[in-house]
């Protein structure tokens, strides 16, 4: 064990040295790369070598500010680090000339700064006090955007693998008790107490037990797990190691969806490095404890995020859920006791073991402890990843972190929990976010995707969208889900094209209840949630579609007509050019006319009009 301690001081020393040099760090998570991070990296390398500058170039994962990608951090020795947003290859030379050579930060491109021990620059918000981060509590995500995820040295220098060192000197039940004390609940959505689950697996009979990490994040609108997998892969491995030690397992499997190639690459690299350093494999840190982890790439089935379907998939079968009981804690992978937790749950474990259960339990609310990572997407100013203490309100997330609704439009609803969750309206913005209050409101925590919608979103269309998703992803094993979701979808489709009948609302409600109470697994049981919550909070929109044959948000094309407001139209002809089917006609400088029969309601004309003369109703 002393081995790691010796190594640690050396690593910490060189890490400090690394931070004490001029550095440029580019954010290269999937999101950063998608926004052009690699090209920015190339431009930086080119500029640095042309100018012959003495500066370290490194990369990191996603710091969470997706809205500002590509993100580049520049720091000078003994000075505050500045994080720049919206950096494109063209802006690289300006940043280098300003910040690195003239030693003056380029304030207009700076998003935030992290002063550390140095004094902050003027005119740049300090991270902890900036709009996006002020209400955040970065624990699980503390390394994201701060360390190189492919460097085990960075991980160890920032306290990594100290928890497994501590754990193997502890009694197994003490570790489990510490996790129980922390109040940590499963971060995959269900919210089952993690310590209790570990206790079940610990107590289950049998010598062979498995640890499985569910990294099959499939909810549309959710990418927390991807960010953590890409940004802090060792934390997940360490969490699994601790779980393995605590419950007496020597084998772990990470089931990661195939759509996350970068996450799989970084996990593989992390496993390789940990094995090289004796932190994984045989006789870990000389304790006699053996543990190996392998990665199983998913094959593209949403239902495999359900725990028993996931186990079947690892076994090489069709990913269909099993009937429970027996629960995986007793008969899981290959019918052996299996501890199955989500990525974020495992990533929390090292922090809990290092700092103690009480430290964790001090954060959050009475029944939902700690912090939760959320993904903010949809029609908001600041899309991205955030970590907040449980109990924060949805309104604080929307207004303080996400920066309000895009384009100053009116907020309409927030969808929490993906296809299994629900849409919450304006008057639920003061709802404190925890497992129980979200369920009370008809939504759920889910894995943590929050999709914000504005007044231009049609709630019937949203419900239809989710039902289309669950209906396609239903595995077909049980009838309520296979047939029920299909029927729900058919009714919603009918309503959206204006063929709905008044009884439809009642039928939707009855069917939703039946599916909820009789489907085999969580996918089916929660599939009606989007319909039930939109019916509960936005019933008037359903009624408008059914009775008035009108889509109040102006989304459902069959219920829309486009027309030109004569007084506003100056006859410029731009809309005529934009119309793909030549449905608009009119002389120059004379108000134009849209032929309702020829119009395909694509909406292409609306944004071309500079006078807002085309309206849809």
């Amino acid at each position: 064990m002393s081995n790691l301690e010796q190594m640690r001081s050396g690593i910490e020393e060189s890490y400090k040295g690394k931070l004490d040099r001029a550095r440029i760090v580019v954010g290269l998570g999937t999101c950063g790369i998608a926004a052009g991070g690699n090209k920015v990296m190339e431009a930086i390398k080119g500029e640095v070598s042309t100018q012959g500058l003495d500066v370290d170039i490194d990369f990191t994962s996603c710091i969470g500010m997706c809205f500002a990608e590509p993100v580049v951090e520049i720091s000078l020795p003994g000075a505050s680090s500045v994080i720049y947003g919206g950096v494109f290859p063209e802006s690289v030379s300006k940043l280098i000339a300003g910040h690195l050579i003239a030693k003056t930060p380029v304030t207009e491109m700076a998003q935030i700064q992290i002063p550390g021990d140095a004094s902050p620059y003027e005119g740049i918000p300090v991270m902890d006090k900036s709009g996006y981060y002020a209400k955040q509590l970065r624990s699980v995500t503390s390394r994201l955007g701060r360390t190189n995820p492919e460097s085990i040295e960075d991980y160890i220098a920032t306290g990594g693998y100290a928890a497994i060192e501590k754990a193997i000197s502890m009694d197994r039940l003490d570790i489990i008790n510490e996790v129980k004390k922390s109040g940590l609940r499963g971060r995959g959505g269900g919210g089952f107490p993690t310590g209790t689950k570990w206790q079940f697996v610990h107590d289950a009979a049998g010598s062979k037990k498995y640890i499985v990490c569910n990294a099959d994040e499939g909810d549309p609108g959710a990418f927390m797990d991807r960010s953590v997998l890409e940004g802090d892969p060792h934390a997940i491995l360490e969490g699994m190691l601790i779980a393995g030690y605590a419950i007496g397992s020597d084998e772990g499997v990470i089931y990661c969806r195939a759509e996350y190639p970068l996450a799989i690459k970084r996990l593989n690299l992390a496993i390789e490095k940990a094995e090289e350093m004796g932190l994984m494999g045989e006789n870990i840190l000389g304790s006699g404890f053996n543990f190996t982890v392998r990665i199983k790439a998913g094959a593209g089935a949403f239902v495999c995020g359900e725990e028993t379907a996931l186990l079947n998939s690892i076994e090489g079968k069709r990913g269909m859920p099993r009937v429970r009981p027996p629960f995986p804690a007793h008969k899981g992978l290959w019918q052996k006791p299996t501890c199955l937790n989500n990525v974020e749950t495992f990533a929390n474990i090292p922090f809990i073991v290092r700092n103690g259960g009480d430290w964790y339990a001090a954060m959050g609310t009475e029944k939902s402890k700690g912090s939760k990572v959320f993904c903010l997407t949809g029609k908001i100013n600041h899309t991205g990843l955030c970590e907040v203490p449980m109990g924060i309100t949805m309104g604080e997330i929307l207004n303080d972190i996400a920066g309000g609704v895009l384009g100053g439009k009116k907020f309409k609803a927030v969808q929490s929990g993906g296809p299994s969750g629900g849409c919450l309206p304006n008057d639920k913005l003061d709802l404190p976010i925890d497992y129980d209050s979200l369920i009370g409101a008809g939504a759920m925590m889910g894995s943590g995707g929050l999709v914000f919608m504005d007044e231009e979103t049609c709630m019937v269309d949203v419900a239809k969208f989710f039902l289309n998703f669950t209906q396609l992803e239903s595995c077909g094993k049980c009838t309520p889900c296979r047939e029920g979701t299909k029927r729900l979808l058919e009714i919603l489709e009918r309503i959206c094209v204006g063929a709905g009948v008044p009884e439809d609302i009642e039928t939707l409600e009855r069917l939703a209840k039946v599916i909820k109470s009789s489907a085999l697994c969580a996918l089916g049981q929660t599939a009606p949630n989007p319909v039930m919550t939109t019916l509960r909070y936005f019933r008037d929109e359903y009624e408008a579609h059914i009775v008035d044959k009108r889509c109040p948000a102006g989304v459902c094309p069959d219920l829309l007509t486009f027309c030109v407001v004569k007084d506003k139209c100056v006859g410029c002809g731009l809309c005529i050019k934009a119309c793909p089917v030549n449905a608009i006609s009119g002389e120059k400088k004379v108000a134009h006319v849209i032929d309702g029969k020829a119009c395909i309601k694509c909406g292409a004309c609306v944004p071309t009009c500079k006078f807002n003369a085309i309206i849809k109703a």
Binding site: A35, C66, E259, I314, K317
Partner: protein, 163 residues
């Protein structure tokens, strides 16, 4: 030259040799069917019927079961695929920000429907539920590259990058 374990026949094409190696690696591996299918699809680009038969024989798993697994997962394909795979995200965030317009633009540009492959096998177009880059919505993935914050008129230029 590799020799097939069950029939003793010689297999020649480099792809077949690679498949035999893959099967050798997973023969005694619990739950090896899905990794084998993933590997075989890497080798051949899709999963031809003869390959599925070979996998069934070599792993001693009934053909019906192999076929059942192949058709269950969205990742497996029974027909040849394009050299470049375009995945258009129609997840919630992309949906709200106009993902379907991007999809229509691509359909028009390529002249294929959802799941279709262009005649020159250059592109296959697919819609997916979410690629996890919601912060950059609307977005698409071509092979392993993610392109985000798109507008329909970007499509032509992006497609030109792929041969």
């Amino acid at each position: 030259m590799a020799v097939c374990k069950c029939t003793g026949e010689h297999v020649d094409s480099p792809q077949d040799v690679e498949l035999m190696e893959l099967l050798g690696h997973y023969r005694d591996y619990d739950g090896g069917l899905i990794p084998v299918l993933q590997g075989a699809q890497e080798i051949y680009g899709y999963l031809p019927a003869e390959v599925l038969e070979k996998i069934s024989q070599e792993l001693s798993i009934p053909f019906s079961e192999v076929f059942g697994v192949v058709t269950f997962y969205a990742q497996f394909h029974l027909k040849p695929r394009g050299r470049n795979i375009i995945r258009v995200c129609l997840g919630t965030a992309c949906h709200v920000l106009g993902g379907s317009k991007i999809f229509t633009a691509l359909q028009d540009e390529l002249g294929v429907e959802n799941g279709g492959t262009t005649e020159d096998l250059r592109f296959t177009l697919e819609s997916v539920a979410c690629i996890g880059a919601c912060g950059l919505a609307p977005c698409i993935m071509i092979n392993d590259d993610t392109h985000g914050r798109l507008i329909p008129s970007d499509m032509k230029k992006i497609l030109e990058q792929y041969e």
